[in-house]
């Protein structure tokens, strides 16, 4: 047992809280400045006791934020759902089966993280242009195109996430199911998946967080229809850089969905993120 209450301990406790405050200060500042007027922000006459929520109502007119928001919500939710489904299947195969190609496959899964986005962005863009010119398939500047791309992007990391969750589930359960006459697929769907529910939720939220943040492909593959929030924010900074309060309000609105998703699932998500750390 370590001794408590010495001067050194008090000092280290204080240091910890100072660091915590410093870490959350920019977030606090984001929220606080979104409740001030542009004038108050620019000449420093802040009045935090009388917040105004003017910026939150006007930001939707300054840029078409509603469209960006809706696009982000639809694209990221769908892509994260499909990625989680794909990852649940592949992660289960890697966790339970020894099959030829398992090692190359899992190496390829990590290998995808090594490709710079700029390297396959151009071919994907050209492929989308080619499809538009030669087939009735429209993927350029459509939600469907972005969903396909994001699904592929976030599947690899999701596979590792799901695999570690499946490894933590005891084998006996599905083996009992197999003895009772379940098919391997039946055992997977009816026995394993329900037990992996926290892992599925955590993987979904993780993929959603990453998709929500993607800017490079959204910038190149969307023009006027399927733009997502990061594009909207970039337009905001580019064209209305003096609208400080509205920009900060837009930042708050863009962060809220992921904050809510995170805190609702924090317990499971933390377990998934630290799975590698506590294995031993």
């Amino acid at each position: 047992m370590r001794r408590r209450g010495t001067a050194g301990d008090v000092a280290l406790d204080a240091l910890t809280w100072v660091i915590v405050l410093a870490m959350i200060a920019p977030i606090v500042w984001l929220v606080l400045s979104s409740t001030q007027t542009n004038l108050q922000i620019s000449n420093g006459t802040y009045d935090f006791l009388h917040p105004t929520f003017d910026a939150f109502s006007r930001m939707w007119q300054t840029v078409d934020f509603e469209r960006y928001f809706l696009n982000s919500l639809i694209i990221c939710t769908t892509a994260a759902l499909i990625a989680t489904a794909f990852a649940a299947c592949a992660g289960y195969a890697l966790a339970r089966y020894r099959f030829r190609g398992a090692r190359p496959f899992s190496l390829a899964v990590i290998g995808t993280q090594l490709i710079p986005g700029s390297m396959f962005l151009l071919p994907v863009y050209m492929g989308f242009v080619w499809l538009k010119q030669n087939t009735p398939i429209h993927l350029l500047d459509t939600r469907l195109g972005m969903i396909i791309v994001y699904t592929a992007f976030f599947t690899p990391v999701a596979i590792y996430f799901m695999r570690s969750f499946f490894l933590a589930i005891p084998r006996d359960m599905e083996e009992a199911g197999l003895v009772d006459g379940c098919t391997p697929f039946g055992a997977f769907v009816r026995i394993v998946l329900p037990n992996a529910a926290p892992g599925l939720v955590a993987t979904f939220v993780y993929a959603f967080l990453f998709a929500w943040d993607e800017l490079l492909f959204a910038a190149a593959l969307t023009q006027t229809q399927a733009e997502t929030i990061p594009i909207g924010i970039r337009n905001f900074i580019g064209n209305y850089s003096q609208e400080y309060a509205q920009l900060m309000a837009a930042g708050v609105v863009s962060t809220l969905p992921v904050m809510l998703a995170f805190f609702a699932t924090q317990r499971w998500l933390v377990k998934g993120l630290t799975a590698g750390a506590v294995k031993g």
Partner: protein, 311 residues
């Protein structure tokens, strides 16, 4: 009695099931990662610009001229490339170092038993959940020379500095990106290190204390070796993600951050999509990925034994 034939058949059926399970993920990775990556490598040998873009993949071959343009110091494109390389190296080094060292230090701090530790950990994690483009938005606003809170605090309130520094240009610009990147990246490292520290049996430290080992020696000879595999993993991916950073510079500085803040990705995307030098961009991407491959191989040599220990 189970003969070899039925067992093999059952084995094959199980394998078929495993292949069916990985098929959707494998198909998407093939279509969106592997094939476009190979196509990207091919495009780096093509003369793809405004005039030939309509030919798409049929654009004329041009041999190594895209690579020559990058590496030939008399070519005007070479100058910007070399500048972006050094910016990226500095950005990556300081960002990864800050995330690892800061994350480790805070994890050690939070591993002590103190009141409200759960709260401290949850709050500490908050920056990681803020999306990268919002991180860049907040900080480019805070760094503003006249209206930004950083200068208001440093100059107007605390009088630490005489005149208002410009954070978003000159030598400061790189630090204006590194600091938010560390701020956002450090919490995840902290979380992973803290989870590992909490799994260390306290008896180890107690035994060392009894043997007379001070705090630093306990950290150096117990904590660090135990965390080595995790540090290795964080280092591997930290370097890759930092070297491929795009959101922070492009939101803070726009698509042309200028010579002080231009990173590899902003350079490649700008040359490809704004200046229509697609072949140049593809060649630069291939070189960037080549460097990362070398990094992975070096990393593997250094941390191979830790991987085996962890598996």
């Amino acid at each position: 009695m189970v003969g070899p034939a039925p067992r093999r058949r059952r084995r094959r059926r199980r394998n078929t099931f495993a292949y069916a399970l990985i098929a959707p993920a494998a198909l998407f990775m093939l279509l969106v990662h592997v094939v476009p990556m190979l196509a990207g490598a091919l495009l780096s040998f093509k003369n793809l610009n405004t005039f030939t873009f309509h030919q798409l993949f049929g654009a004329p071959w041009t041999g190594l001229s895209n690579y020559e343009a990058i590496l030939d110091s008399s070519n005007p494109l070479n100058d910007g490339f070399v500048g972006a390389v050094w910016n990226t190296v500095r950005y990556t080094f300081w960002t990864v170092l800050g995330c690892l060292a800061g994350g480790l230090a805070i994890a050690v701090l939070l591993n002590r038993d103190m009141r409200g530790r759960k709260w401290a950990r949850a709050l500490m994690l908050a920056p990681w959940i803020v999306p990268g483009f919002v991180v860049a938005t907040i900080w480019q606003f805070m760094w503003q020379s006249d209206v930004g809170i950083v200068n208001k605090v440093l100059v107007d309130y605390l009088h630490l500095l005489g005149d208002r520094p410009t954070w978003l240009a000159g030598d400061n610009a790189l630090w204006a990106m590194i600091i938010p990147s560390v701020w956002r990246g450090l919490p995840l490292n902290m979380l992973i290190f803290l989870a590992a520290l909490q799994a260390v049996p306290t008896e180890l430290y107690e035994a060392a204390s009894i043997d007379g080992a001070g705090a630093w020696r306990r950290f150096r000879h117990i904590t660090l070796p135990l965390l080595r595999p995790l540090i290795g993993i964080q280092l591997l991916f930290g370097v890759i993600y930092a070297a491929y950073q795009y959101t922070i510079p492009v939101v803070m500085f726009g698509s042309n951050p200028g010579p002080d803040a231009d990173l590899m990705m902003t350079l490649i995307v700008r040359q490809s999509f704004s200046n229509s030098l697609f072949g140049f961009g593809a060649a630069a991407s291939v070189l960037l990925m080549g460097v990362m491959l070398i990094w992975v191989l070096l990393w593997y040599r250094a941390f191979r034994r830790d991987l085996e220990a962890a598996a």
